[in-house]
Symmetry: C2
Subunit: 463 residues, 2 copies
């Protein structure tokens, strides 16, 4: 701790905070009243969009995700940040480049500043197009390396991947620990190395699930990290991020002092404390830390998936076998990080292997994974296992999106009857099962209002 | 981090854990089934007795505290630890030396190993007798310095106080952060200095209230702390200690690796997860960290006391004035740490000063404080304020307990009708309002059993 160097904080309350704690259900009406205060804090940025919020807005909240972005932009001066799932955009599969490109253009147009771009396999090819377009549009491209634990995920791996992303043009780089398994020591080692070989700023994103996140931040700060991700205290901890207030207090009077005002933060915390009460039915995370995350190095959701899958087969007693099978499958699959969608792919295969015999059965997703359609895993897959799953089929070696037909023309046709703005086409291209229905209802509501207005007019001017 | 040096862990689940989270209500039946597993972990010690548990056993649980100790001792091989409030023993006022002495003798006799001894004002004279007797009895005397924040509580203060306690014969020393306000940087500075000037082992006890505790531990570990206090994950965080599992995972593979088994700890966590459900009515702590603790540097309970005291006077709107008055009162009182009973003494005076005018009214406790009957505060009290409270009365300068008459003779008379063992006399000496009733009911229950047995006998052998 030699020189005075403030640590900056990204507040995740309005994206990852409620995605982690409240099933992504927070509505914009619960954000707007507090925006003015949030703007006064001096956050480095506010993560308010992307991830699961886009889908959730249309699917559950009857809220236009594009409208949400515009409104937040009008209410906030602080840089706005989103989570972009690389070629998966804000969905769960690869989309063609025309959809990705148009999405980014419209997102920048609607006021977003910082794009955090990641790929579940850390396959840089799945982030390349996104980085390129974000930069073309004049926004900030933050490339991401997902943190996981495996024999191939050593410090050299993280340095090499980050270096490649920097060379691709990333404006900053983020280490993303979705499962909450990053211990303080590896946090220090990776960030220290990054700071010595990279020229771009470094950010750390941890989840609190195991209780280690604040300690990982502290060590990362020792190692020179520039920005850490936190949520306001009443939307922090559990499966969310460390609390802003805790990190602010912990760094006060040190060379890393954030300079943020605890009293102001408390007022914001009070707001979200009340807000959270509206979402009780979704607020089910455990009060205590999840030790399974540390023992099996798997995200919290995976264990509950195993339990539910096995229970359905009356085979809950085989859970220990599944937990032993999981690392084997993961090794044979080339050590993918356990995050959506790879966690589901690997997890379901581990269950099938235990119940049916090893690789007697494989889901369609597993076949696509082995065909290379998710991208390149961190290590080579086991070729024998690949043959058991897809036989003699030749896996692809190109970037998966290279094989996809443009998606906008079809979406434009589908959106046409309900379309009110260009962005609606992108919504349909991303969520063809959900968006048309949402747009249809939106239109119906608008027509109803128009009809009511017309009716009122007739009252005033009886025919 | 140069040499391999395991960090040791004291588990507080069965004392501070449930005292902090479940209003000290956990009954022994919820401890015994898991003792065997707890014994296998390899904890440095188990804090299972003392603090508020003694009182709570008799007052709420109809459980003999001495019986609890004996039973736990029979079920556990790991060293057992208790919290001893110095001359306050396990109560809330100063007791005469004969009561303290007999208490310690009987406690050692019943199997306790480590006495953590503290005084609310860090007045070493209030710990002296306890240290002396614990050592005479061949047990381990851990002296404690309470952590607080004030202009006089600098590193030099903590070093001087610890050094004095070591010279008094303490076998180890503990820094005790009851309010959860110890930030990582001061934790490092104090422990580092302690490790360089003290010969005895150093332990750190933090509460999680502000969310900083695990970070404080991490920095203390850097500084060479020997033992940290944790609770099992399902009884940790909130106002309790950091989770054992989190610290174990965070240190794995570092030179400080605890060597404890996460899977075994998970089994213990599962037990207490179920147990906790039995105490839902007492389990009211907030899920999120308490930022007020960091802003006002006061323990969590104080804020709620202010709110309740002011509400009763229809004066809740004057809370900001009280929060401004508090540091003034604290300064005039010689910067006492804010812990029972000084937190109540200072807090109530701050409320009175705002509502009635400065020092127009003072409680009896405040008068006794100014007369010196709680001991010597860390800094001199304001003499003008003292005069406003006790006029020309001369305060005492000796150790308060020097003025107390022996307490056992009277207690022995009181206990006589219900007494079943020597320890009952101590229970009565400590809690004359509570213990006799408890002993009476215990006797009645026993008589009822005897009568029932007698009745059964008559059935078998009809007269
Ligand atoms: Co996240
Ligand atoms: Co405590």
């Amino acid at each position: 701790m030699d020189e005075k160097r403030r640590v900056k904080i990204t507040d995740t309350t309005m994206r990852d905070g409620h995605q982690s704690l409240l099933a992504t259900r927070m509505r914009i009406e619960h954000m707007l009243p507090i925006c003015e205060k949030i703007d006064q804090v001096g956050f480095h940025s506010l993560e308010v969009w992307g991830g699961a919020t886009f889908d959730s807005c249309m699917r559950f909240l009857n809220e236009d995700p594009w409208e949400r972005l515009r409104i937040l932009r009008r209410h906030l001066k602080t840089p706005l940040q989103m989570l972009l799932r690389g070629q998966n955009v804000v969905g769960y599969k690869h989309y063609p480049d025309d959809v990705l490109t148009e999405f980014i253009k419209k997102t920048v147009y609607n006021g977003l500043d910082i794009f955090r771009i990641f790929d579940a396999l850390n396959d840089v090819r799945n982030m390349q197009k996104a980085i390129e377009v974000v930069k073309q549009e004049g926004a900030h491209a933050q490339a991401t390396v997902v943190y996981t634990i495996s024999p191939v995920h050593n410090v050299e791996y993280y340095v090499k991947t980050a270096k490649t992303l920097e060379e691709m043009g990333a404006d900053s780089i983020c280490l993303k620990d979705m499962a909450g398994i990053l211990a303080p020591q590896p946090a220090y080692e990776i960030i220290k190395e990054w700071k010595s070989v990279l020229k771009i700023p470094v950010q750390l994103h941890c989840h609190y699930t195991s209780g280690m996140a604040a300690m990982a931040y502290l060590r990362a700060i020792d190692a020179g990290v520039d920005v850490i991700d936190c949520a306001i205290s009443t939307m922090a901890l559990q499966t969310s991020q460390p609390a802003v207030e805790t990190m602010v207090a912990a760094l006060q009077g040190t060379p890393y002092d954030t300079g943020l005002d605890l009293k102001l933060l408390t007022e914001i915390a009070e707001h979200f404390k009340e807000v959270r009460k509206h979402y009780k039915e979704f607020d089910v995370a455990s009060k205590s830390v999840d030790a399974n995350v540390m023992i099996y190095q798997i995200p919290g959701g995976m264990m509950s998936n195993f339990i539910s899958q096995l229970s359905q087969q009356n085979a809950l007693h085989r859970l220990p076998e599944v937990l032993e099978e999981l690392p084997r499958v993961r090794k044979e699959f080339g050590y993918p990080p356990l995050v959506t969608p790879s966690s589901q792919i690997v997890g379901t295969q581990a269950v099938l292997n235990v119940l049916m015999g090893r690789y007697k059965l494989a889901t369609n997703e597993v076949k696509q994974y082995m065909r290379g359609f998710y991208g390149q895993p961190p290590a080579p897959v086991d070729e024998e296992v690949r043959r058991m799953i897809i036989g003699d089929e030749e896996p692809i070696t190109c970037r998966p999106a290279d094989l996809l037909e443009p998606g906008l023309p079809e979406a434009r046709k589908e959106a046409a009857p309900y379309m009110q703005k260009e962005e609606d086409v992108i919504s349909v291209a991303l969520f063809p099962q959900v968006a048309p229905q949402f747009l249809k209802e939106r239109l119906a509501k608008k027509l109803k209002v128009d009809l009511e207005l017309a009716a009122q007019s007739s009252e005033f001017y009886p025919a």
